[in-house]
Amino acid sequence: MEFWIQLVINSLVLGLTYVLVASGLSLVLGINRIINFAHGEFYMLGGFGVYWISIVFGANYFIALLITIIILGALGWVVQRGFYQRVQASLLRTVIVSIGLMLSIPALAQLAFGEKTRVVGTVIPGSVHLFGAPVTVERLAIILISILVMLGLWYVVQRTKFGLMMRVVAENREVAMLQGINVKNANSLSMFIGCGLAAAAGGVFAPLAWVSPFLGAGILFKAFIVVILGGIGTITGAAAAGLLLGFAEVMGVTFLGGWIDVIPFVIVLLVLLFRPTGLLGRVKEF
């Protein structure tokens, strides 16, 4: 029983991290129609944000996380207005700009923060026993925070005027414009939320690992797998796919040994074979 509890906790932590990052990527992909290759770098910056605000400046971790999310969300807004908006008419140009950002942000981070590995360390000490299994409070907090963030995202997208605006833009940009919706604002808002989600994931996960300028590429790769698996532009799909991937990887590590790198591809192939639009996706062309 203890062992299975550990597996479930491990799966939830990994899966929810994927969910947070991939939801933001999927949101931007669905609304802005931008393949944001720089998305993983906001995850990396999220870790640095939490490190600097909480460790260097001594702020409370949760306040640091909140400030980081807001700052990096705002940076996402700036990136949308300053870069993507100018080239949004051309898919190829957005891809080029996106790759340029993906390459330049880690280099700038290295210049700004140095190449040294940074350690946030344990922010919520202590552990509890769930059905006999030792689980750190920190990991439970990560699960809780991630679920709260996702519920907040669901609320914003489904229950607010801003969310409605974004959903209309995602459905049909021309109709949205005819309805008087400011598409540029919708795009900027989705970038704010998308980058904020990546930053949240980076900030939430930082105490469990380490922070360095080179963390963005690995998580981006997984986020793309989740988006393809869940269906382009659907946050619910990204959530389902992220959790599926997290569970599959943990079970794979536990029972199949060194197959962790193969598992995502096998799942993607199987899902796309039977559902070409992903688990919950509707977009057939992009």
């Binding site: 690995g218 998580i219 536990t254 962790i260």
Partner: protein
């Protein structure tokens, strides 16, 4: 007329005294004369450092690069490397492999063909990939670990660290003596050349010493969460976790997670920087973890040699803190410098002969290259293996295991 003669005589005496005084002073107190400044080097000798400066292994690579810079500073301050009437100023050229052997080949090629480098320090996992290129161009390299590198086909590859088998063997000999009841080993290894190489070297040791190799978990280089790997290993009921094939960051997380899951047995981390590992794990959780290496870790200042302390202090002065300090590679440049000066030539054949003929000073003592019986070539320096354990918030040397000479000769 007489007064003119007198004036000339007085003038001559004054002149003689003025000329004689400096000589007289010089003879009277030779020890107070300022030492002559070393002659300025007239030529440049480029030294290449092919290591990871970013990504996994960067902490290690940066430490090596800095150590080579410290050696170059010392050489240049002393007037450069002397070869006959020439003096060579050392220039260090670093290249970032990103732990990718393909990138390392590109860097090595540029260093050899564009920069004229004749001496290189290289780290895993890129050691092996660049050797054909180095051999073809008669470029010397100082490699770290992974014994298959040392073989007659690659005569210019040398190693001053014991290979992974020796480190692993020494660690398990110590473990067996200290904790004979612990026999079941679980491995957590990075899934790349470095990790596979380390693991392959450890397996024969388990068989030789009677340890049970219960399970191995391969972690991706960019692993996000090590919890699943540690959980899976602990589920097998292991007594010892061996994370020697993991990078320092990952090794630190393995320690942290294992302790959080209630495992307080020994965790072996012979391939990592102990300082960084402890920083990531937290010093409290690092308690009981074991590190080992060809040189004692420089955190053990109570056991450091005079020369090692000297390099340490220079490092602090130059880089501000002991962060990433790794003195091993100071020896790389120093040994090649001694070989050049003993050969009195930059001819690779003469330097090779010198390396096989003489004893060489290192930070940790004087050694001669050996290893023919084991590798077919005398390119291995045979230092002991220092075993250290995290105890009471610091790293303590708990044993020194000497590999028997018959293993090398």
């Amino acid at each position: 007329m007489r007064s003119k003669k007198l004036l000339k005589l007085v003038g001559a005496i004054v002149l003689a005294v003025v000329i004689a005084i400096p000589f007289a002073v010089g003879c009277a107190a030779p020890e107070e004369a300022p030492a002559p400044a070393p002659a300025e080097p007239t030529k440049t000798l480029n030294y290449g450092v092919v290591v990871a400066l970013t990504g996994p292994g960067a902490e290690w690579g940066i430490g090596h690069l800095r150590a080579i810079h410290l050696w170059a500073d010392d050489v240049n301050a002393a007037g450069g490397i002397r070869v006959g009437n020439e003096r060579y100023r050392v220039e260090v050229i670093g290249g970032d492999t990103k732990s990718d052997p393909k990138v390392a080949i590109e860097i090595a090629s540029k260093l050899i063909h564009e920069d004229g480098v004749g001496f290189i320090t290289v780290n895993p996992p890129c050691n092996e990939a660049i050797q054909p290129l180095l051999t073809e161009n008669k470029v010397f390299s100082m490699v770290n670990r992974l014994p298959p590198l040392l073989k007659p086909e690659w005569p210019y590859a040398f190693s001053i660290t014991p290979d992974g088998t020796d480190v692993s063997r020494a660690t398990y000999i110590w473990l067996q003596e200290e904790h004979p009841e612990l026999t079941r080993v679980g491995n957590i290894v990075t899934d790349d050349i470095f990790g596979h190489g380390s693991y392959d070297l450890a397996v024969p040791v388990y068989e030789e010493l009677g340890f049970e190799n219960v399970v191995v978990q391969w972690m991706p280089v960019d692993v996000l969460d090590v919890y699943p790997f540690v959980t899976a290993i602990l589920a097998k009921g292991v007594d010892v976790i061996d994370a020697s094939g993991a990078y320092a960051e990952q090794g630190g997380l393995v320690v942290k997670v294992a302790r959080e899951l209630g495992f307080w047995g020994p965790i072996l981390l012979t391939g990592v920087l102990p300082g960084l590992m402890a920083e990531i794990a937290g010093w409290e959780k690092a308690e009981g973890s074991v590190t080992a290496g060809g040189w004692q870790h420089t955190e053990n200042w109570e056991d450091a040699t005079e020369k090692e302390l000297e390099v340490y202090n220079k490092y602090i002065r130059k880089y501000g803190s002991a962060d990433k300090i790794n003195s091993i590679s100071y020896n790389d440049g120093w040994i090649f410098q001694q070989a050049i000066e003993k050969a009195q030539s930059l001819d690779p054949d003469k330097i090779l002969e010198a390396l096989h003929t003489y004893e060489f000073q290192t930070l940790h003592g004087t050694y001669r290259f050996t290893g023919k019986g084991r590798y077919g070539i005398d390119n291995q320096l045979p230092p002991p293996v220092w075993i250290s354990v995290f105890t009471g918030g610091t790293l303590k040397t708990v044993g020194v295991v000497v590999t028997p000479p018959e293993y090398f000769e």
